[in-house]
């Protein structure tokens, strides 16, 4: 059992932070790696990239958006409650290297995953400009942490309620116009990663993206998480979750993420009706 020791609600209660006791995983976890969580006996195995890990405290932190029944069940866990199973750390860690100037682009809960990478990139000596975005000010997460982890932080909202009025890609383009950037790291919704990659390709800037396809085991056994990268099939769980953003077939990924769409909707609706 894996006990929740800290719980926070963000983004109007749609995004939840759980800090969880998992000493063995915390001892090994590195930025960019993920875990698989299962809430109880009948629960689904849900992969989430870690937002934080603390080897000394023996805890890991995940930040997730409530999008279906499984995450809705996660949300019901209070401090002191436990996840039945957590498996990890899985996937390859981010390659942290001193490259010069880096732009970290985050959207939605992707910001949570981006944060430890941003921090590590800065700590190793890169100059890090971060761009984070949300639909509106109230939905934005981790602004303070991202500010501390970056040399320069830009914020965007779709509705203009805070920071730049518009998409992260617009701010990114401005930066790429003005200065030479050595690498871009983009983590967020698939369309965001797709458009970031399209732009950085124009400027020939290497781009890292972190993918979160449907998976079951997370150890390379099921192949459910296959993505096409550079025309070849890769398993996101063991070959990733990070890939060269210019090589990923985002359209295929978006379709594949819809595989269980109807089942998920029905399951979530039934759960919501039951809860109310």
């Amino acid at each position: 059992m894996f006990k929740v020791v800290k719980r926070e609600e963000m983004s109007e209660g749609n995004v939840i932070l759980n800090e969880i006791e998992a000493p063995k995983i915390a001892r090994k976890a590195k930025p960019g790696q993920f875990v698989i969580l299962k809430v109880g006996e009948e629960g689904e195995r849900i992969p989430l990239t870690m937002a934080e890990s603390d080897a000394e405290k023996g805890t890991i932190t995940v930040i997730y958006m409530v999008v279906g029944k499984s995450t809705a069940l996660f949300k019901t866990l209070q401090v002191g409650d436990s996840y039945q199973d957590i498996i990890g750390p899985l996937g390859k860690p981010t390659h942290i290297e001193k490259l010069g100037k880096i732009v970290c682009v985050g959207g939605g809960t992707g910001i949570a995953v981006l944060h430890p990478i941003t921090r590590a990139m800065k700590e190793i000596g890169n100059h890090v400009i971060s761009i984070i975005g949300a639909r509106s000010k109230d939905l934005l997460i981790l602004e303070d942490k991202m500010k501390a982890a970056s040399n320069d932080l830009r914020v965007c909202t779709d509705d203009g309620s805070y920071g730049h009025h518009g998409f992260v890609t617009e701010v990114l383009k401005e930066i790429l116009e003005k200065e030479k950037i050595d690498q871009v790291v983009a983590i967020g919704p698939v369309p965001m990663m797709k458009f970031v990659s399209l732009i950085t390709k124009q400027y020939n800037v290497p781009t890292l993206v972190s993918l979160n396809p449907i998976m079951v085991d997370g150890t390379g056994m099921c192949g459910g998480c296959r993505v096409t990268v550079g025309g070849k099939t890769k398993f996101a769980c063991v070959d990733g979750p990070e890939f060269d953003g210019h090589q990923v077939d985002y359209d295929e990924l978006m379709l594949r993420l819809q595989a269980y769409c109807e089942d998920e909707k029905k399951c979530y609706n039934d759960f919501c009706i039951m809860e109310s």
Binding site: K24, R45, K69, T219, G220, C222, T233, V238, E264
Partner: protein, 473 residues
């Protein structure tokens, strides 16, 4: 055969006692076990067919060398408790083996009675003894040696890992089994369906080991959560790797990433480990399709096809590039699949998948094949017939064309020597790898094989580990 034995065969009048089964039409739509087991009377009657050969072929055909005539004699005498104890001396998972071993090419294939008549139903009798013990036994444990103070880590809780754990715990060692999934049992839990091997039976076998003192640690991905060297640092004296093959093979033809194409590993894991056939009572979904194609003709393909039928498919077809003779599945599985209405498209090979604008599978293009000269496997090589392309409709395709070596553990352990396919190099007689204190066995050494062969490898490795712990490498 001696003259006396031949006479006995001639005298033999009782025919093989068939194990009762659920009716095909009924069972094709439920997940309950298909054969329902012998009654005591049936078992005694079948056991009486055994001729108690002096040089039994059956024992030679058993990868773990069970004294088959010995336990059958005890069943014939109604001594069921003694029969199961007799089996346990060589096999710690009889309820499993009785159900999933390919007896026709092992013990039963070498049974003398089988030369003139149907062979003695050794598998059915083994299953009977194990089931009888589970239902009526006292639960008494076999004796255990004094603690040796040595610690062994067994990586993987499939058939070979459980065999090693069972063997070493009774020899007095401190054994911990590590499993990457959230439930122990390996392929017995995620791979083999409920209707062929009820999960309660696997749980019972694992529980038996736990009662003997084996510690089972789930959610432990060795290679990620902990490395082999760290296990040694933690005080383990020996490590056994029985992690299975664990890498799904795909066809590598256009369109393979369409929605509705799943590896058998994924399909069966959803159905078996995650119990997705109960969705939405459980939270893991599984595609429920009307028109299903399964590629391949091994046991995993039969399991996938029969699972699809039970999930409500109208049509389930096995597409296989060779002919019926080369199908690698157990005869019983092929027979059961046919009875349940599964169709076979033999000498047929897909060349590409066809999908719609939503990225969902709608069919596949296939070629007809003919058999040429035998290939390296000794089976006749399938050759495409030019211009024979045709299309098959389907809305789900399960790819069951074998598996490869999962590199997760081996990549993180560079001092393990691998062969060119990525499997671990291990001594055939002992299971010793090139890394000191580390043994390996089962599919990660041989490539995908059977439960019983993995157990046989586990048995040999356990003996070698025991010797090492007492005497050194």
């Amino acid at each position: 055969m001696t003259e006396e034995e031949t006479k006995k065969v001639k005298k033999e009048k009782i025919s093989r006692v068939a194990m009762p089964e659920q009716e095909p039409a009924v069972r094709a739509r439920n997940f309950l076990e298909v054969p329902t087991g012998y009654t005591s009377e049936m078992a005694i009657q079948e056991a009486a067919r055994c001729m108690q050969c002096k040089k039994p072929g059956c024992v030679a055909g058993c990868p773990v060398g069970i004294d088959i005539p010995g336990f059958i004699k005890l069943i014939a005498e109604g001594e069921f408790t003694r029969a199961i104890r007799h089996i346990w001396q060589k096999n710690s998972l009889p309820a499993v083996c009785g159900r999933v071993c390919p007896q026709e090419i092992q013990c039963e294939g070498l049974c003398i009675v089988g030369k003139k008549d149907d062979p003695v139903a050794i598998g059915n009798l083994e299953r009977f003894a194990a089931d009888w013990e589970r239902e009526h036994g006292t639960g008494a444990l076999p004796p255990k040696a004094e603690p040796t103070g040595k610690k062994v880590a067994v990586v993987g809780s499939g058939p070979s890992g459980l065999t090693v754990a069972g063997d070493l715990i009774v020899k007095g060692h401190d054994v911990t089994v590590m499993e990457a999934f959230h439930k122990p049992g390996g392929v017995l839990v995620y791979g083999i369906p409920e209707f062929r091997l009820p999960k309660a039976i696997v749980a019972q076998e694992v529980n038996f080991l736990a009662r003997l003192g084996v510690k089972v640690e789930c959610n432990a991905v060795v290679g990620r959560t902990v490395s082999l060297d760290e296990l040694f640092e933690e005080g383990y004296d020996a490590i056994y790797l029985g992690v299975g093959a664990g890498l799904p093979r795909f066809m590598n033809i256009p369109g393979e990433n369409l929605i509705g194409i799943l590896s058998a590993n994924e399909y069966l894991t959803r159905a078996n480990l995650m119990k997705a056939y109960l969705f939405p009572e459980v939270d893991t979904p599984i595609p429920r399709a009307k028109n299903v194609i399964v590629l391949g003709a091994g046991n995993v393909a039969m399991d996938s096809a029969r699972t699809a039928m039970r999930l409500g498919a109208e049509k389930v077809r096995i597409v296989y590039r060779r002919s019926r003779q080369e199908m690698p599945a157990r005869i019983a599985e092929i027979h059961h699949a046919e009875q349940e209405g599964i169709e076979f498209f033999l000498l047929t090979n897909p060349t590409r998948y066809i999908g719609n604008e939503k990225g969902r599978l709608t069919g596949m293009e296939c070629l007809q094949m003919e058999l040429g000269e035998p290939d390296q496997s000794g089976r006749r090589r399938p050759l495409a017939i030019k211009g024979s392309e045709f299309e098959l409709d389907c809305d789900l395709c399960v790819v069951a064309v074998g598996s490869g070596a999962n590199p997760l553990l081996t990549e993180s352990t560079p001092d393990l020597k691998l062969n060119k396919w990525g499997y671990i190099e291990a001594d055939e007689a002992t299971g010793k790898t090139y890394k000191k204190g580390v043994w390996a066995g089962g599919d990660i050494v041989t490539g995908a094989a059977t439960v019983i062969l993995a157990m046989g490898a586990g048995r040999k490795a356990a003996d070698s580990i025991h010797e090492y712990l007492l005497r050194g490498w």
